[in-house]
């Protein structure tokens, strides 16, 4: 709100809007992508319970239900009260209060809910991992086949040369 008013005061026009009519400056990024705790997520360091050692150390709150990965807002980069804090910095997982489906997404403290036929993030992640493994194996298998074919082709070519 304040940002929009300041934009109008400074530039005399409304700020650029996204397809939902929201100012892009403030709704363009996922909380997860601007979160200062993101390195802990990437490193797999999570608070498992409220007030455990991970919570005290300020680790990622994903396992306590954090909705950062699906919420587009500026809490992560602007933070509240001129950069003072936002729920994650104060130890509370994001509840996605600006999400269109905020009112239908509880229980809030359970990990992120199902995404249609794909399942929740864990299942999607497991699926992707399995698919990747299959891909790797397939790639390996293909490589072996290709290698044999190449060697055979090379051998054949050599033979032909020899024969010549």
């Amino acid at each position: 709100m304040t940002g929009v008013i300041m934009h109008v005061a400074l530039f005399g026009s409304l700020p650029p809007l996204d397809h939902d009519g929201r100012p892009q400056q403030f709704y363009g990024n996922r909380i997860h992508d601007t979160c200062y705790r993101r390195p802990f997520f990437d490193a797999g360091m999570f608070a498992e319970r409220f007030d455990d050692a991970g919570a005290k150390a300020g680790w990622c709150l994903y396992k306590l239900g954090c909705r950062g990965p699906e919420t587009y807002n500026s809490c992560g980069n602007l933070r509240w009260f001129q950069g003072m804090s936002y729920p994650i910095q104060s130890g509370a997982p994001c509840i996605g209060c600006s999400n269109p489906h905020f009112w239908d997404e509880d229980p809030l403290t359970e990990r992120m809910p199902e995404y249609g036929p794909l399942g929740n993030v864990d299942k999607i992640g497991a699926g992707i991992a399995a698919a990747t493994a299959i891909g790797v194996m397939a790639h390996g298998a293909m490589s072996v086949v290709q290698k044999q074919q190449r060697e055979e082709a090379e051998a054949k070519a050599k033979g032909e040369q020899v024969n010549k």
């Binding site: 319970r49 005290k56 150390a57 300020g58 009260f81 104060s90 509370a92 209060c97 009112w103 809030l108």
Partner: protein, 641 residues
């Protein structure tokens, strides 16, 4: 007789309409009707929710009483499950509650109520030099230098937030106000009856001084809420967790939610609150209020003279349970024992009757009830039946107005249903709640010898009452139950809460120093540790008064949820057995000088700090509508003839 309607009453939070019948000769109000014009319905949205989430959803009932509903909600769930929250969580919640009270009262007085007392138009006649002198005189005459217990933690060498008292400062403010008035676009000062005779009660310099502080406080109030941002992540709607607080404490982690650097921000905000109340709010209020009292304006008391209710405030240490089902620990160690009801205070403290409020009263289906005789709801059997909140029903039944269409009201039906607010009752009777109620209860209990081993806060409340009585030259019975008394006790409550804030901050620091950093109790976090069915109540003396949330839990889900909020107590529709609510009675005790400009009505209603939005419709002796006065800042002031 004129019928006057104000709809919406602005400079409040939410939607409120009042209709009054005014005798044009005497200015006497013969009937008054208060109607909440917006459907709430949030209770229905709570059904089947995980009780551990309810605080987050129910808190969005309001953006002004932010934090209050979350606190009442987690307390209700903890009462149902018998959860004892850690000491630190109790201190932090108390700091957040006191912070809300300090900020809320300051915002209400300056930004929602001050323009009923002072006018930017009158301020233009002020002499900046005389205003600077007045500022010094007001501080000398009206500052109440009362403080909480001595503290070992003193981080500020001098008061940082001190009012400017130079002619240059007031001249600059005057120029700014003049430019706004001359532009014809009054902006934040639009929509008021600036030619009303009430504004002539005060000299121009008081107007200029208070308008200057109005502008100052727009900035300062923001900084007062930083404890919510530190402990709860943001404001409005800071975060909580059932079982304590999510803000873990560690002095060994740079990335901890709470460490020394974060506590420094909280310390600064608390000290700022103390200075703002002592050097701006109280002196301004007392200077204005004493002029009104000396002019004989001791009306608008209403229900405060007959019956006031308090729940008790600030559990000093960790406790188990609010209701008797949960153990009732809440009531055993309160900083302010205003839990109870005082009746007939208007007849003097000797004739006043005090009734205690206990943990058992909360579970007794006869004590606290709501009925819907005049509210747009229906009950399964009879709308006049009282239902305990655990068995409360939220079933809409909109019947429209007496005159007009369902969407364009001309006159509401005082004989039938006319409000979206239910009628809450204590033992079948209506009560006023709020800071005035808390002060009347503590004063009455003290006079009757019912406050053994007084806490420092209770003593401070009595000292405050004595100081104001001395200033006004009136006994407490005479000035407390009035419109000015209601406004004054809010300022006293603000000073008290600024000190309570400091008191619990010191306790938090001492406890962390002793090695305890725990903020959440997770013993009953998992649903499989819960009983199949349980019920709980969470109570909190919110800035506006007694707030309660009631939850009925079954199979780990919210089966029923009811909020009984302070504004419902005060603004409720009438009841054929119990009579009028606090707003209606206060309006009926107020004299209106100019029926077309019912400033006194708006002023007395705003003295309750209404948490809803509003308008006044005026009708003559035949019941013909004279005016609908709209004070909506968006559509501007307009008078429909």
């Amino acid at each position: 007789m004129k019928h006057v309607v104000v709809d919406p009453i602005t400079r409040i939070e939410g939607h409120l309409r009042v209709e009054v019948q005014v005798d044009e000769g005497s200015g006497q109000v013969t009937d008054a009707l208060s109607s909440g014009t917006a459907w709430r319905g949030l209770e229905l949205i709570m059904r089947d929710r995980d009780p551990r989430d309810v605080w987050a959803y129910i808190q969005r009932i309001c953006g002004v009483c932010t934090t209050a509903h979350a606190l009442a909600s987690v307390r209700a769930v903890e009462d149902a499950l018998g959860i004892k929250i850690p000491k630190n969580a109790n201190y932090i919640r108390n700091i957040m509650a006191a912070t809300l009270t300090v900020q809320d009262h300051i915002v209400h007085f300056y930004h929602l109520h001050a323009l009923d007392w002072v006018s930017p138009v009158e301020a233009l006649a002020a002499d900046p030099i005389a205003t600077a002198n007045l500022q010094v005189n007001v501080l000398n005459a009206y500052r109440l230098p009362l403080a909480g217990p001595a503290s070992e933690i003193n981080t500020e060498a001098y008061p940082h937030d001190f009012p400017a008292a130079t002619p240059q400062y007031f001249a600059a403010i005057k120029d700014k106000v003049k430019a706004i008035v001359e532009s014809g676009q009054l902006g934040i000062f639009a929509a008021q009856w600036w030619d009303h005779p009430d504004y002539k009660l005060l000299p121009p310099e008081v107007h200029l001084m208070a308008i200057a502080h109005y502008l100052e406080m727009l900035d300062k109030q923001r900084e007062l809420v930083t404890p919510h941002v530190v402990f709860g992540g943001k404001n409005p709607h800071p975060h909580y967790v059932v079982g304590g607080m999510p803000c873990s404490i560690s002095m060994e982690d740079g990335n901890a939610p709470i460490n020394s650097a974060r506590l420094e921000i909280v310390d600064r905000a608390i000290n700022m609150g103390r200075t703002l109340v002592n050097y701006y709010y109280l002196p301004d209020l007392l200077a204005i209020g004493s002029t009104y009292v000396k002019a004989g304006r001791v009306d608008g008391g209403g229900l405060a003279k007959t019956r006031v209710l308090g729940y008790g405030a600030y559990p000093m240490e960790d406790y188990t349970g609010t209701s008797s089902k949960g153990g009732g620990g809440f009531f055993k160690n309160l900083l302010i024992r205003c839990n109870g009801v005082v009746e007939n205070f208007g007849q003097g403290v000797a004739n006043a009757k005090f009734s205690d409020l206990t943990a058992e009263d909360l579970t007794n289906p006869e004590v606290f009830t709501e009925s819907v005789e005049h509210a747009w709801y229906s009950y399964p059997k009879n709308d006049g039946d009282p239902l305990h909140p655990w068995n409360g029903v939220t079933e809409a039944k909109y019947t429209g107005p007496k005159v007009g269409s369902p969407t364009q009201w001309e006159a509401l039906n005082e004989q039938g249903k006319y409000s979206w607010l239910k009628t809450p009752k204590w033992r079948g009777k209506l009560c006023e709640v709020g800071p005035l109620a808390r002060y009347i209860i503590i004063y009455t209990k003290a006079q009757k010898g019912l406050l053994p081993d007084m806490t420092w806060a209770e003593k401070m409340m009595l000292d405050q009452i004595a100081a104001v009585s001395n200033l006004l030259g009136l006994p407490p019975e005479a000035w407390l139950p009035t419109m000015v008394g209601r406004t004054a006790t809010r300022a006293l409550d603000c000073q008290l809460n600024a000190e309570i804030n400091k008191f619990f901050f010191d306790k938090l620091i001492a406890n962390i120093k002793s090695g305890d950093t725990k903020v959440a109790n997770a013993e009953k976090w998992e649903l499989n540790t819960w009983p199949k069915e349980c019920q709980g109540v969470g109570i909190y003396e919110a800035p506006r008064g007694a707030l309660s949330h009631w939850i009925d839990i079954k199979d780990g889900k919210t089966k029923n949820y009811q909020c009984v909020v302070p504004t419902t107590w005060n603004a409720c529709p009438r009841d054929s057995k119990a009579g009028h609510g606090a707003y209606e009675l206060a309006m009926m005790e107020t004299r209106v000088q100019v029926p077309d400009k019912p400033l006194e009505i708006a002023k007395v209603v705003r003295s309750f700090d209404p948490c809803m939005a509003c308008a006044t419709h005026m009708y003559n002796a035949k019941g013909e509508r004279i005016n609908v006065i709209t004070t909506d800042p968006y559509s501007g002031t307009r008078v429909e003839k």
